[in-house]
């Protein structure tokens, strides 16, 4: 038996991809959107998922890899269940983003780029989120949280941690 994991897109996904490909002059244009879909379905993009995307669009694996590694939103490794992405670019930095990062990493006991041992939280610093009026901005799993301060993050972390313990998300 091969050790390689077999993964598939659902029928519904394949239908969506078929429709998507038709919107472009060439199937290759659908690569970024399909990688977004794959990441949504499988959580991240390990090699066998990249192979699946390559096979689905009829592209060579190398082409898919080149794209996955170029774009920061594509993740090749598993992260925590909650990705806390703090913008520390100019507008956010001028409004306390660095202090916020320090507070979050200290209270979770990890460094930037790391995941808590229970697999719940990953903290990263990201570039300008295009929402500087709401500085500091934290993106949590693709959702924007604006004018975030230490107590907001404390409350968020407490809330999701306790609901996980209670067995619900």
């Amino acid at each position: 038996m091969s050790e390689v994991e077999q993964v598939h897109f659902t029928e519904q996904r394949l239908a969506e991809i078929d429709a998507l490909v038709k919107k472009y002059p060439s199937a290759r244009s659908a690569l970024l959107p399909v990688l977004h879909m794959a990441q949504e379905d499988f959580g991240y993009l390990p090699m066998h998922v990249q192979q699946l995307v390559a096979d689905t669009l009829g592209l060579r694996l190398m082409i898919v890899r080149e794209v996955v590694t170029f774009y920061t939103m594509f993740r090749e490794h598993e992260t925590g269940k909650y990705r806390l992405e703090v913008c520390t670019n100019a507008g956010c930095m001028l409004n306390g983003a660095d202090e916020l990062v320090q507070h979050i990493t200290k209270s979770l006991g990890i460094n930037v780029g790391e995941t808590t041992s229970d697999g719940m939280f990953t903290v990263t610093e990201v570039e300008c989120a295009g929402a500087c009026a709401g500085a500091p901005v934290v993106q949590i799993n693709n959702e924007y949280h604006e004018k975030v301060d230490a107590s907001y993050m404390d409350a968020f972390i407490t809330k999701v941690s306790s609901s996980e313990e209670g067995g619900q998300v």
Partner: protein, 425 residues
Amino acid sequence: MISSDPKQVKAICFDRIHLEGQTGLEVARKNGAYKFLPTVLKDFDSDHIVDEVKKSGLRGRGGAGFPTGLKWSFVPRNTGKPTYLLCNADEGEPGTFKDRDIMRFDPHLLIEGMIMAGFALGVKDAYIYIRGEFLHEANVMDAAIDEAYAANLLGENILGTDFSMNLTVHRGAGAYICGEETALIESLEGRPGRPRFKPPFPAVEGFYRCPTVVNNVETLATVPAILEFGGDWHAEIGVPNNTGMKIFSVSGHVNKPGNYEVPMGTSLKVLIEEYCGGLQHGTVPKVIIPGGSSTPWLTAEHYDTPLTYDAMMKAGSMLGSGAIIVMDETADLIALTRRLAHFYAHESCGQCTPCREGTGWLERTMNRVEAGQGCKKDVEVLNDAAEHMAGRTICALADGASAPILSLLKHFPEIVEERLMENAE
């Protein structure tokens, strides 16, 4: 409602964004969306539209300020190839957050602008390239586009005319460089976003080597008003050569950060004091970055500069995307410059040596200077590296990377010196 008297115009792109339910087609139509579209599709022709946009004086709102009508007139006709329209909604320039508000609050305005532009250019397939992080905005746009298709505002034979156009939202995936128009095209072709050498310009050879127009969200959202009220009307707003309204995204040390749409030519000081509630500390800013992080810094002496492409150029900077980052006396300029150096090093696509190596040098040197481990020679290193990058690369990212460094050294040599002296002691 936009006033037909140019002197009375309060907003163009933001005219309807505060209205409740504006993202839905029914409400948007009640508020005037697509009202003038039938007239454009039935009574206007391509030349007339391009002429009106030329007359309007509209300049691209994405950063470069290139005249929109002129750009459209460069598209060759009858090449036998399709012409594509791409909306640049990548909005990655640090400090910029205006296109997001147009898309999430008034998506139909952008769609209407794209239908009109597409009609003028003979486009069959148009795309909105939106930064990947704007998932909510992409969903709002998608929902609005679905409604527009259902109402025959998109798709085959729009409103019973011969004109047919498709519109697709395409999400990027976190790469600032994809805001550069040729990198955007590469990305839309399913490749890493590495800018192409110009010429050929996209108008002649763009998406899949076909004629392609790339315009910013705000630029396209201005088109419906120009066609309804006329190019001359638009040219009366603002000041000559810098016409119309402009959205400024103001962030940093102001009391009321946000987007403000004002007539071109309004002064920086008026915008900050009257619209943004002034500074958080003190009365005079220490640094103003007027057009996004890639534009040279201004200091207190230029506080009165009018917000126009020309006046900003004269003051030694650029209007850019209209992203104004304000710093009061509390700002740590060395830390800020180090942070921006990191940004450019991270975002360089790496294909030009001066940019790839230069941005790395700048970041490492700034790290050293900030940590108090720098030496006198580092000032020279920074100056040399920054000067050798600018203007020697395929795209303007390298110029943007050198702007903060050169600005810091030019306006605040004493701050850098002081940090280096601390180390020497």
